[in-house]
């Protein structure tokens, strides 16, 4: 990966992160797809790199969201996730895994759509 690519996908990552973080506040989780889409439609032409940077951006936004909204105020996020898992009858921390994974997946979906849209735009 050249320096230019590194810069490009760092920007994809940052845009995904920022937008996903903001969109999480809507409570409509699937909207984080837009974060991946917006980030890549502007900056990316490669699916794999776009997907990776969006995925990382997505899961980082989840982590940041949990930290800045709960953990920073002393909220025992890990314990709550663990106990909720226990009550639901699923392995501890499954909820955390799901939280990170789903945000990442939504962003990846958005990023792939974004690359496609970018290609269509450039074609015309």
């Amino acid at each position: 990966m050249c320096l230019r690519d590194l810069l490009r996908y760092s920007i994809v990552f940052l845009i995904t992160l920022a937008l996903s973080y903001a969109l999480l506040y809507t409570g409509i989780w699937a909207l984080t797809t837009i974060a991946g889409l917006v980030a890549t439609v502007t900056f990316s032409r490669e699916y794999l790199k776009a997907a990776i940077s969006s995925f990382i951006g997505g899961i980082t936004s989840s982590g940041l969201f949990l930290y800045l909204n709960y953990a920073v105020f002393g909220g025992p996020v890990l314990e709550v996730a663990y106990y909720a898992g226990a009550v639901a009858g699923i392995p501890g921390y499954t909820f955390l895994l799901l939280t990170f994974l789903l945000t990442g997946i939504y962003c990846v979906i958005g990023s792939i759509i974004g690359v496609f849209v970018r290609k269509i735009i450039h074609k015309h």
Partner: protein
């Protein structure tokens, strides 16, 4: 990947797959409910994570609350106890509602659903039979009726009703304020998200539902069904097995120690003989009975005593409370001090009830134990029915129908029809369905300035039957077995059938009245200076009213231990009472041990007998965790119980016909058994006197020898290395109300004890841990010092918060399990030294 500048087939595939995955992710939660729940719960914004903030106790917080007239200050002391200071009672109860909901919202909702029979809606169809039973017995019907009647009384100017209405409406507003706050801040307990529902607004009817739930736990019994079935199979032997009065010594705190009242004995033994149809109906109802409570239900092993100033070192009374309840997490109690103008009370509160059940103010202190009188206030009648009519006293009356949640409920003049068969109805008359404003009585007691005001208020306490033990700062002590006790009679003047069993419901037998308030068991300032109310029968054989048989009252061993100590000691201190509250002496063991040892001495050549004898001969009857003798005694006692009563059940044909009725030794300490107190008393008597006739006609010594060999063999299978110390059988377990093991605590070893000891270990001992831990015990170890109420002590084995991630989830358990106490900070000014947090609740808008 494809050429970055071209749009080719691979691009369309990538797009198609992405869109497909997105659609799947969007549709899956809509069509597969569990996935929807998982997705909702994992949502970072409004999933489970917001609940983490509920576990945080900020040092200072200001919240705007709807409905307040003026600001309210809430402080949390270093032990996690809430102190709420308001300028008026309305704001006080509203703030309490908010605070209690903040700590116990899911428990509140679960308890009201459990009481009204609406669990299957959130927990699934497996709870349908539970719901149906709760609906049938009338909790919801009665709670709604109670609230409406209280409203009517309030409109008529009744002060107790007025206070109740104000308190419950304010409390409900407080709970609902918190629901709104939690929804807005996404802080609802995660159980709501995982069960995919939202809490409905709290109403005063819900508080009366909690009252019903507690009445159901404290005063609701199927004893009459068992007694009728026993009489049906065993005839007059039943009256020997379950005699009117105890054969073992009793402490009758309200007197009447004279000769027995023959009429009362005759009435108690005059059991109506049921036929096979009614027996089938009774057995069917028995099998539907005792539904799976999901919250702690009370157990009849509680202790309460008060000693007057003439026996204490301070010259002022000391009051001690130890109500025994099933354990759970969150625990049933919530601890707080409520302060407003003319109102300053400290104590433990039930979820949904804005006044302490047990506690103290500046002038008085009180605690409760269950009276356990008169068949648990639950009576059964057999009435003829024809179509939509029932027969009563020469006439046919229309059956009253209620329709709740799609279920039709049918009531006669006595109450709900529980079972119908061949034009007969088994109808339940449960005193729990009578009007009783317990919340109003407690609110009045909370404001009492002397014992007389407590005594006066208790005349309005109808159900559940409770021994209110109290003391005031003027040195007075007392107890009242508060409740509405019916007097049964026959219209032709003949002897009534025993209300302890099923009665004919044709109108022949009826309720002629109730024991007058001045005649119900009570004592004020007894000359001995001692009152002990530990679920034993409160009145002796000469009491002129039928008050139940030995089936319901506790055997009385705990009462004796306390009574003997208090009578024989002076200059009693708080520390003495602390030690006494955790006493591990098993009086049943003390009474039975001499005969057991004599029996064992006849066969010491047997190695099992020899081993048992060697341990037991020097044993002091203390059920301490390191004692092997304690285990050996418990198991010999249990084996003897099985050999006596189970053989009898088989010989008389009671089993297998009614095989699900399975009482067990030591108050039902063995798994899958229940406590039938008469049998424990019978066995103690047999082992004490060495005479088993007519219950056990063989040699009692042989019985003991055989039981000892069985017991020692059983212990050998559990512990081949011989390490069967009591601590390996005795321990406490706190199940989470969610059922999740990770949120439960235990088994934890305790100080020692069993069913017969003051340090009660309800339901434990019948097997090595962790298979059979005690699931109940002293739910609030409370010592009120009337010399200085600010120097009182108490702790309950749980925590204030239901949030498992909170530091206050189970923090009292390590203190309680060691028999230690926490000071109760009773002050109008919690200092910064004692305070960890302050919350200002301000009127919003």
């Amino acid at each position: 990947m494809s050429n970055p500048k071209e749009v080719g087939g691979r691009d369309y595939i990538a797009l198609g797959v992405s869109v497909l995955v997105l659609i799947i992710l969007l549709l899956l939660p809509l069509y597969i409910a569990p996935i929807g729940v998982l997705f909702n719960a994992a949502n970072p914004y409004d999933g489970i994570y917001g609940y983490s903030l509920n576990a945080v106790v900020p040092k200072y917080e200001v919240l705007n609350i709807k409905g307040l007239y003026a600001p309210v200050i809430v402080t949390i002391d270093k032990y996690g106890v809430y102190h709420i200071y308001a300028s008026n009672l309305h704001d006080l109860f509203l703030a309490f509602g908010f605070i209690q909901a903040e700590n116990r919202l899911f428990q509140l909702d679960l308890m009201r659903r459990a009481a009204m029979g609406n669990l299957s809606a959130i927990l699934g169809p497996s709870y349908k039979s539970y719901d149906l039973f709760q609906l049938k017995i009338g909790n919801l019907i009665t709670a709604e009726r109670d609230w409406n009647e209280t409203l009517e009384l309030a409109e008529e100017g009744n002060p107790m009703a007025n206070l109740t209405v104000m308190a419950l409406e304010a409390y409900s507003q407080g709970v609902n304020d918190y629901i709104a706050y939690a929804e807005e801040h996404h802080e609802l307990p995660f159980e709501f998200i995982l069960l995919n529902y939202r809490p409905q607004p709290w109403t005063p009817v819900d508080s009366f539902l909690i009252q019903q739930y507690m009445i159901e736990g404290l005063e609701f019994s199927d004893d009459a069904l068992i007694l009728s079935l026993m009489y049906y199979k065993m005839g007059n032997l039943t009256n020997t097995l379950i005699p009117p009065f105890s054969l073992i010594p009793q402490v009758y705190f309200a007197g009447y120690n004279g000769g027995p009242n023959e009429t009362v004995i005759e009435e108690t033994e005059n059991i109506w003989l049921i036929n096979s149809t009614i027996a089938q109906m009774a057995y069917q109802l028995y099998n539907e009975w005792d539904p799976p409570f999901i919250n702690p239900h009370p157990q009849g092993h509680s202790n309460a005593w008060v000693v007057s100033g003439k026996k204490t070192v301070t010259g002022y009374p000391i009051l001690v409370g130890g109500p025994v309840l099933d354990f759970s997490l969150p625990f049933i109690w919530f601890e707080a001090q409520l302060v407003a103008s003319g109102f300053n009370v400290f104590g433990v509160f039930l979820p949904g009830v804005p006044v302490p059940v047990i506690g103290f103010n500046q002038h008085v202190a009180w605690t409760l134990t269950d009276v356990q009188a008169i068949s648990g206030g639950t009576f059964f009648f057999v009435q003829a029915i024809n179509g939509d009519y029932y027969y009563w006293d020469g006439h046919w009356y229309p059956i009253k129908h209620y329709y709740i949640n799609g279920v039709e409920l049918n009531w006669t003049n006595w109450g709900p029809i529980m079972v119908e068969k061949d034009h007969l109805a088994l109808v339940m008359y449960w005193l729990g369905n009578n009007y009783s404003n317990d919340i109003g009585v407690l609110l009045t007691i909370a404001q009492a300035t002397n014992w007389m005001q407590i005594y006066d208020a208790l005349q309005y306490w109808y159900v559940p039957y409770q021994n209110f033990v109290f003391a005031d700062v003027n040195g007075n002590i007392g107890v009242v077995s508060a409740g509405l006790y019916p007097i049964f009679a026959m219209r032709n003047g003949s002897l009534p059938y025993s209300p302890n069993a099923i009665m004919p419901g044709n109108g022949e037998e009826y309720i002629a009245g109730y024991i007058s308030y001045s005649d119900i068991p009570h004592v004020i300032n007894p000359p001995s200076g001692v009152i002990v109310a530990s679920n034993q029968r409160p009145v002796g054989p000469s009491y002129p009213y039928w008050f139940g048989n030995t089936m319901s009252f506790s055997p009385g061993t705990r009462a004796w231990v306390v009574y003997e100590y208090l009578i024989n000691h002076n200059n009693i201190t708080i520390q003495d009472m602390m030690k006494l509250q955790w006493n591990e002496t098993d009086l049943a063991a003390c009474w039975t041990l001499p005969t057991i040892l004599k029996a064992l001495e006849t066969d010491l050549s047997n190695p099992y007998i020899r081993t048992a004898y060697d341990y037991l001969k020097d044993w002091n009857c203390v059920m301490s965790p390191d004692s092997k003798a304690a285990t050996i005694w418990f198991y010999i006692y249990s084996e003897t119980y099985f050999n006596v009563f189970y053989r009898l059940f088989n010989e008389t044909g009671f089993w297998p016909e009614f095989e699900n009725i399975r009482p067990g030794p030591a108050g039902g300490s063995w798994p899958n058994t229940f406590g039938l107190r008469s049998f424990d008393e019978d066995l103690i008597y047999i082992l004490d006197t060495g005479n088993g006739t007519p219950i056990y006609n063989g040699s009692v010594y042989s019985l003991i020898i055989n039981s000892t060999i069985s017991a020692m063999k059983l212990l050998e299978t559990y512990y081949p290395n011989g390490n069967y110390v009591w601590g390996n059988f005795y321990g406490f377990y706190w199940p989470s109300i969610t059922g999740a093991r990770a949120l439960s605590v235990g088994s934890l070893p305790g100080l020692g004890g069993d069913y017969f000891t003051l340090n009660d270990a309800s339901g434990g001992g019948g097997g090595p841990l962790p298979t059979s831990p005690a699931t109940g015990g002293q739910s609030w170890t409370f010592i009120a010092n009337l010399a200085n109420l600010s120097n009182s002590y108490g702790v309950f084995p749980g925590g204030q918060s239901e949030n498992p991630a909170s530091p206050f989830y189970d923090n009292y358990i390590p203190i309680w399990i060691k028999g230690e106490y926490l000071p109760l900070i009773f002050t109008t000014n919690v200092t910064s030294q004692n305070m960890i947090a302050e919350i200002i609740l301000k009127p919003s808008g």
